[in-house]
Every structure is written in structure tokens, then in C-alpha cells.
Amino acid sequence: MSHPMMPIAMHDERTEQLFVRDLKTWLSEAVEPHQRTLAERAGRRHSGDYGAVRRELMDKDVFRSWFGVRSAAQEMMWDVVGRSIDRQHDDLTERARIAAPLGSVKLDPDFKPPRYIAALDIHMMPGGYQHDRGGDDIRQGALMDRGGAVYMLGRNGGLMNDMRGHTTVQHLFERYPEARPSQILELGCGIGASTVAVAGYFPEAEVHGLDVGGAMLRYAHARAAHLNTPIHFVQGDAEQAPFKDETFDLVFSCVLLHETSNAAVRRIMAECHRLLRPGGVMIHCEVPAAADTSAVWQRVQGDFEALYNNEPFWRGVQQLDFAALATAEGFGEVTVGYQLATANAQPAAHGFSPESSGPFRSWLMISARK
């Protein structure tokens, strides 16, 4: 399944993208287990001194080359997707021009993204979330949409990229079964893949999506309109969202928090509380927390994400006590646990557990009621 805005891959472009996907899979299945053994042995030898472990591993050619090829695969992915998008740029721009589109997009020409977004290109995606040439530019959205499907190796709903949205609604159905949200906001909506998925379950609701990128939001608007889903996209900062107090009865995010900072997570929680009506629900869908953040292998993976994939907060976010943070901001009924991934939310129990079922099979949910 796909949608009309999705960039199209010609014969060789599709093969290049499948190659990157298969290269990443091979690296993680054929090479990574050995690296893990090396890292854990070094961890036992240095009995918990991670600095010493890191120095030992980085002295090994075999370890550095694994980091290097992983990093090259990520760069190659953005490169092949980017070139494919540039080839069809005019067609995509034309497709984004819709005579009377559903929903809206409201951009702020003076908007400055927060430092954790502006300082580096997260996931090595050239231009990051915020790059925008102005006018009718949609390239950054197209890059994130097609690139994201390859990056997720097809495990987030293929070319729809929307499993997290469906899984977030499943969590709402299971933990807050009486909720009937009529005003919904997604923070950090990106290309609006989750926003559209969530909106589909609540056709009477007014749905808003907030993000930092102008080109991203123009693309998101065209994508949603082509899917006949009215969404109101707004440029802004999740720490200071441009909406009045108590506007929404559902505020959610999908993999937003780990792209921010320690201070920002606290402010975003406070902002969710401000934006929600009494009784409203906050849900943050996040990457799985590490079972043991001090474990050597988690530290190695954290190093890779932070230093080679521009994810500086990867490890920090895993050490947060989300329940305490939500409670401190005044929330009740705080829930932290794992929701089994689904492509079709049902108003019945599907699988919520304190234990992770593994990446992409379940998502960490941090939810609470005001």
C-alpha cells in the first residue's frame, strides 16, 4: 500500500534502495552478533569501566570497520533516496499542488527551531527536519517519507510509515476506553504519517499536527489531502506550541521525545498538560527503553547512535523516569509500558505489557490523564 505523494522509484533506484535495506539487514544479522560478543568480553575484562571498553573496541580494526560500514550504509541510503527525489522533483511539486485541499498548513517565516534540531542533522538526513527553501518546497518531506520507509526496513507499515499511529490509537482504546477525542494534536508530526492514521479513527475530530519544518509540513499537508484526511498543520516548537490552554483532549507524539533533550522532555510534558482539557489524555510513543542502560552492549549501541547517527539524546532518554516526570507535571493515571504494534487498532485488548516484545514488534508508551 502506498499513497499519491510517495516518491516513485524507477528500476535502478528501487534496486539501490533494496540494496541499502539488505546491506543494513546483513550488517545487523551477520556481523553485529560477533561485535556484541567482543564488546561483552571487553566489558567483563574491564569490569564496568566503559571508557576502557570503548578504547579497547576502537583500537580494533574489525570493530571500527563495522561502525564505518554501518555509517556508510546510512549515508548511502539518504544519497540514493535524495537523488531519486531530485529526478522527480518537478512531478512531486506538481502533485503537491491541490486546487482545494482538505485541511490547512500554517507556516511561521520567523520560526527558529530549537538548538537540538538545528545543531545537527538527526539520523544523518541531509538538511535535518527543518531545511526549507521556502515557496512551494516539499523536498525535505519527500526525503523523510521515502527514506523513512527504507530506514525502517519496511517494519513501520511499509510505504505508509504509519504503524506507530495505529499502535498509539490501540493504546488509547485499551487504556482509556471511554475516550472520544474531538480535538487532537500530534507534536513533532513530521510528514504526518501517524497523524493521518490517528485521524482515521476519529472522523468527527479536528486534528492538528505541529512540526519544525516548513518543507516537511507542506509535504505533510499534500500527503494528508491526497489521502482525503483533513489535518491542520502548524509550524512551531513542541515546547511552546502555538495553541491556547486546554484546547485538546488528546495530545500525542510518535518517536519525538528521544530527538529532543533532557530539559525539553520536561517542558514538553508541561506543555501537554497546559494544552489538554481536564480529563484529556497524553500519549508519547517511543523507542523501547533499554532493559539495562549500564549494560555494555547498550552503551555501544548508544555510542553509535550518538556519534555516528546524530542522535545525541539516544542514551539520555533511556535513563529518564517518565512516570515521575509526568506525575511531577500534574498528570494522573500515569502508564509506562509496551503496546504490541498493530496496523489496525481495535476497541479490544490487543496486548499491553510492562515487557518489550522487541523493536518494531512493540512500542514504548508513556501515557497519562490530566
Binding site: M10, H11, L18, D22, A30, V31, H34, Q35, L38, V62
Partner: protein
């Protein structure tokens, strides 16, 4: 090594280009047919298997070096047997 590989790749691509041009000229199939070709499920699977095999074949030094660094490979056993036999 990379230059030699590049040379082979250039030859293969140019030969493919010749095949496509001759095919179009002879009315067999067009370039557009290649671009719009949709492999069926069986073809997709066969191509995936082929890609995985190519990746493992060309990049196997990465895997083999990692296996060797962990140790316990057949090479280690072979070296141990050799050194024992040479000593005895």
C-alpha cells in the same frame, strides 16, 4: 580492487545498455517496460536471495574478521592442530 570492480561494472552496464537498445530497435521490449516492470512475489523472493548472497560474498571479510576476532572458529582449531603437530 575497487577500480577493477568499477571497470567490470562499467562493462556490464554498457553491455546491458546495448541489450536494451537492440531490444527496442528489434521490437522485443522497451526501456519503459524495464522501468515499469513489477516483479511478482516469486521473483521478488529470488532477487532478495540473490542480493543477500552478493552482499555476503563481497563483504565477507567484514564477517570473517569479526568471527575471527571472537575466536573459536575452525581456523583457530586448524592452527592449534598444526602447531601441536609441528611441536610433536
Amino acid at each position: 580492487m575497487v577500480v577493477a570492480l568499477l571497470s567490470e561494472l562499467v562493462v556490464v552496464r554498457e553491455r546491458l545498455d546495448t541489450v536494451e537498445r537492440l531490444s527496442a530497435a528489434g521490437g522485443l521490449f522497451s526501456r519503459e517496460a524495464i522501468e515499469s516492470y513489477e516483479p511478482d512475489t516469486a521473483a521478488k523472493h529470488e532477487r532478495s536471495v540473490l542480493r543477500a548472497r552478493q552482499i555476503d560474498k563481497v563483504l565477507q571479510p567484514l564477517r570473517i574478521d569479526a568471527e575471527a576476532a571472537v575466536g573459536g572458529t575452525r581456523d583457530d582449531d586448524a592452527n592449534a592442530v598444526l602447531s601441536e603437530e609441528m611441536i610433536s
